[in-house]
Amino acid sequence: MPKEDVLAVARLARIGVTEDEVERIGDELGAVLGYVERLQRVETTGVPEASALPVLARAFRQDAVNGCSETERAFIEENFPASEGGFLKAPAVFERPKR
């Protein structure tokens, strides 16, 4: 896979990729893409895409609020990578990168 494609895909996937990794990743992905290329030779005109299994899907359930127990709340807060006053602290979405 060409270098620009690796970098573009990495950006889409939000995975940082270093310069020296790009070639190796490109080769590895290229090998897999080469293998799955065989699907191109299968005649699929008019064939529908496989639908979700199973066919007998469940009925809907009530959109009811269950709430959150104190134990659950405690675990959720314990899992916050960064917090302040019991709230999750995260980078601002619209903040410009600090230079």
């Binding site: 293998y35 191109q40 895409e49 496989a50």
Partner: protein
């Protein structure tokens, strides 16, 4: 000093427990002793919950003496794979990005096991995010094969398979997206079942490929696998892909007259180790001796099924792993901006194999490539499903080896991702079609276990397990 209680089967332990011959505490302690002795070198378990296990075992013993046994698994030590949530316990999916993560609630299967009084004894090592066929891709070191420390136990449920085969527990839960229960079961010489898609709730299983994933048992015998399967099956309001089909109930048979087993012509071509081929062909003879008809059957698209899997699975996984971004839980590499935080967190804390598959899936779903890769694969998937359905009008189940070779050496396939993917050749069909499939030990090749692989019709696990057990009993005789 050891009493070898950990070497019992679940069924065997149940009999002794109910007869008052042994206690769950003794049974659990025997497992804990074996874990202390062997896990440091095997690395099958990432964490042992000894204190909780003994407390739960004591409660199980109380229920037993009170006459209120909660179910067949009451007091039985079971291991759960590291991607299945147990409330208050760490669950890391074999990844560093979830190293600090504590499960907020029980997975549905966890709740069901606890409801039956099972003793959850620890969490099992796995390939990171269930991506791998050897457990070498765990961020916490590989698990070693119980019989040969230089070899892999298979994956991604390698820890579960090794723990069961090495008698660190009496059974385990694994997850199977492309063979991750059946392949390690085959390598380690135990039974592994992937139920029909929709049989077992995925609520509380960290999702890899949502349309393929199923939780299932790894066990020492088919009967034990059935006991675990019965405990965890069932429709669940928390998982809309579960189905209230007729619940599985064992229907054991001594003879298999009237059963038609197919050998898919296209699967039995080249690439199977001679020793593996011989063992599974010998198993076919056993099925014949039991009264089954074993015939060749046409199963086209065997050359394409792995390719379909390795397009659709990374696509789904790329979406399912997007949540591991350092924001709400898990490890975070604080960057100078939101974007930098995402990029650095995922680069640093997600391992090479999951990163590879996320990139692959993102690419195959991206504008300009979606039709050529994802849409094409979904179309071929329809053809594959039709091919299996057609074969299942001529036979009742399909027989192949579980894997093309026996357990390979550590490091043998890690340099070549594609070589590792080819390990899944025989197992992915069941995930791509949603059909149930089981791996059963069928002998050794050079001292290493060989597994036979049976695929059945959707929701017909009773027939599948009946055939498996008849074979197993016949070999034991």
């Amino acid at each position: 000093m050891t009493n070898h209680l950990n070497e019992l089967t679940i069924a065997g332990a149940r009999v002794k427990l109910d007869a008052g011959e042994i206690s769950s505490v003794d049974l659990t302690q025997a497992c804990l002793d074996e874990i202390a002795s062997r896990n440091p070198s095997l690395n099958a378990l990432l964490e042992t919950w000894g204190e909780d296990a003994l407390r739960d075992a004591a409660r199980a013993d109380e229920r037993r003496t009170d006459g209120s046994v909660a179910g067949p698994l009451d007091g039985i030590p079971i291991v759960v794979k590291d991607n299945i949530l147990v409330e208050g316990k760490r669950a890391s999916a074999g990844s560093k990005i979830l190293e600090p993560y504590v499960s907020v609630s029980d997975a549905t299967v966890t709740r069901k096991l606890k409801g039956q009084g099972a003793v959850l004894i620890g969490r099992a090592n796995m390939d990171e995010f269930a991506m791998g066929s050897s457990t070498e891709h765990s961020a916490y070191g590989p698990t070693r094969h119980p019989k040969d420390p230089d070899r892999v136990p298979g994956g991604s449920s390698g820890g579960s398979a090794c723990a069961t085969a090495a008698h660190l527990c009496l059974g385990a839960l694994g997850s199977d997206t492309g063979g991750s229960i059946r392949q390690p079961a085959s390598f380690c010489g135990i039974v592994g079942l992937k139920p029909t898609y929709g049989r077992v709730s995925r609520s509380g299983l960290m999702a890899m490929a949502s349309s393929f994933d199923q939780i299932g048992p790894l066990a020492k015998t088919v009967e034990d696998a059935a006991l675990i399967f019965q405990a965890i099956q069932g429709a669940d309001p928390m998982d809309q892909t579960t189905v209230s089909a007729n619940p599985f109930a064992p229907a054991w048979r001594e003879r298999l007259n009237g059963l038609r087993i197919g050998l898919p012509i296209q699967a039995w071509g080249e690439g199977i180790d001679p020793g593996v081929r011989e063992r599974v062909m010998a198993a076919a003879d056993v099925f014949r001796a039991l009264g089954a008809e074993v015939v060749d059957v046409d199963l086209p698209y065997q050359d394409e099924v792995l390719a379909v899997y390795y397009v659709v699975m990374p696509c789904e996984a790329s979406a399912n792993l997007a949540r591991f971004d350092g924001m709400r839980y898990g490890a975070r590499h604080q960057g100078s901006s939101l974007l930098e935080t995402y990029l650095e967190t995922r680069r640093e804390f997600i391992g090479a194999e999951p990163r590879r598959r996320i990139l692959l899936g993102t690419y195959a779903l991206s504008s300009g490539y979606y039709d050529a890769y994802y849409r094409k694969a979904k179309q071929v998937q329809t053809l594959i499903r039709n091919a299996y359905a057609s074969a299942m009008t001529k036979v009742d189940m399909l027989l192949t080896p579980t894997t093309p070779s026996v357990a390979f050496r550590l490091g043998e396939k890690t340099n070549d991702p594609l070589a590792m993917y080819l390990e899944d050749l025989f197992t992915v069909g069941a995930n791509v079609t949603g059909l149930p499939a089981i791996s059963v030990p069928c002998g050794d090749d050079g001292g290493l276990p060989v597994g036979l692989h049976l695929t059945g019709r959707a929701f017909e696990e009773s027939a599948l397990l009946a055939a498996a057990r008849a074979y197993e009993e016949s070999r034991a005789a």
